[in-house]
């Protein structure tokens, strides 16, 4: 089952060796210590001892990042679907509009690209892993790996088809290559049959993959 298809209204079934979100844990705590883990511990301790960061500040930074998830982006999308004035501000200055909803974008420039009846957008960072982490949390592994970064700019329709998104030739596909200081996020098209829905109900349709552009929002049930 794809990650975004979990029904969060139902109790999760925990498989052995899988986390509550349904992913395998990355081996770390009970595997032999690696050279790079040793370096992380040493760097952290040196910085703490020299008073550059405190342990509490590191824990707070981890907590801030853990608290971010695609639900933040979904709130922004749902607001844009229901509030034309907000959508206009979002398209003009994504960082400022997201901040209105309590999503700090920090120093990054956030550019929102809108899917329409004839255009589909998808985002990538070919050079590294730049991602709208303030609105979606940390990126999935595949976003950072060679296959996606290499191919989506050259053969986006094939890549999207691998994600189960087959677009007709009549739809133009635009691929947006992020930079360290400028991040894109896709504003998917509002699903049909959702007239009069609340923002909260609409947000539940918005998947992470639909905001990357490798998927679409859930259809109205």
């Amino acid at each position: 089952m794809p990650h975004d298809d979990h029904d969060h209204d139902h109790e999760h079934v925990h498989h052995e060796g899988m986390s509550p979100s349904g992913h395998p844990y990355r081996a770390d705590q009970d595997e032999p210590l690696t050279y790079w883990q040793t370096m992380e511990i040493a760097v952290r301790e040196l910085l703490e001892e020299k008073g550059i960061f405190s342990a509490a500040e590191i824990a707070t930074a981890i907590g801030r990042m853990d608290a971010r998830s695609p639900a933040d982006g979904a709130r922004v999308v749902a607001k844009a679907w229901t509030d034309p004035a907000f959508k206009a501000r979002l398209m003009a200055d994504g960082s400022a509009a997201a901040a209105e909803l309590g999503c700090a974008i920090d120093a990054l420039k956030l550019v929102v690209v809108e899917n329409t009846a004839d255009t589909h957008n998808v985002i990538v960072c070919t050079l590294c892993s730049c991602y709208p982490r303030n609105l979606l949390g940390l990126p999935p592994d595949w976003y950072k790996n060679r296959a996606y970064r290499s191919r989506v700019v050259k053969e986006p329709r094939s890549v999207l088809a691998e994600f189960g998104l087959a677009l007709p030739d009549s739809i133009r596909v635009r691929v947006h290559d992020s930079t360290a200081d400028m991040r894109y996020i896709v504003l998917p098209a509002r699903p049909a049959g959702t007239e009069g829905w609340s923002e909260e109900r609409l947000a539940a349709l918005v998947t992470r993959d639909s905001m990357i552009g490798v998927g679409l929002p859930h259809a109205a049930a």
């Binding site: 690696t34 595949w142 790996n145 970064r149």
Partner: protein
């Protein structure tokens, strides 16, 4: 001017190159990976170095290292290089501390515990 060949590209500059199918793997980040992320976020917010510094170190690490190390292994390598350049600590201090950390035990939880009095 001749067209740049693929072999002239830096190894991180992979947009448009041939590659296999997208393996849609995902994992929940391990604590040590989240800590590396936090070290980067805090370092840049304090002005110790910039994201461009992180990128420069990663893009200078060489193609073999880039391909064989995991994402946050590349990051801690680059964070460390930038912090040493910024004068946060010396290479000798790092080497001594890494040796001490590794001597504490066999796994991550044991070796990082000394820095977490709350776990005692």
């Amino acid at each position: 001017m001749s067209k740049q060949s693929e072999t002239d590209l830096r190894y991180h500059d992979m947009g448009g190159l041939p590659a296999g199918p997208v393996e849609r793997s995902e994992h929940d980040y391990a604590l040590w990976e989240k800590r590396v992320d936090a070290l980067m976020v805090l370092s840049t917010s304090r002005g110790l170095f910039t994201v461009d510094g992180l990128r420069r170190a990663i893009e200078d690490m060489g193609p073999d290292a880039y391909e064989t190390r995991s994402y946050y292994e590349r990051w801690i390598y680059a964070v460390n290089r930038n912090l040493i350049e910024a004068g946060a600590y010396t290479p000798d201090e790092l080497a001594a501390r890494m040796e001490a950390v590794a001597a504490r035990g066999a796994d991550y939880a044991t070796c990082s515990r000394a820095a977490e009095p709350s776990d005692a």
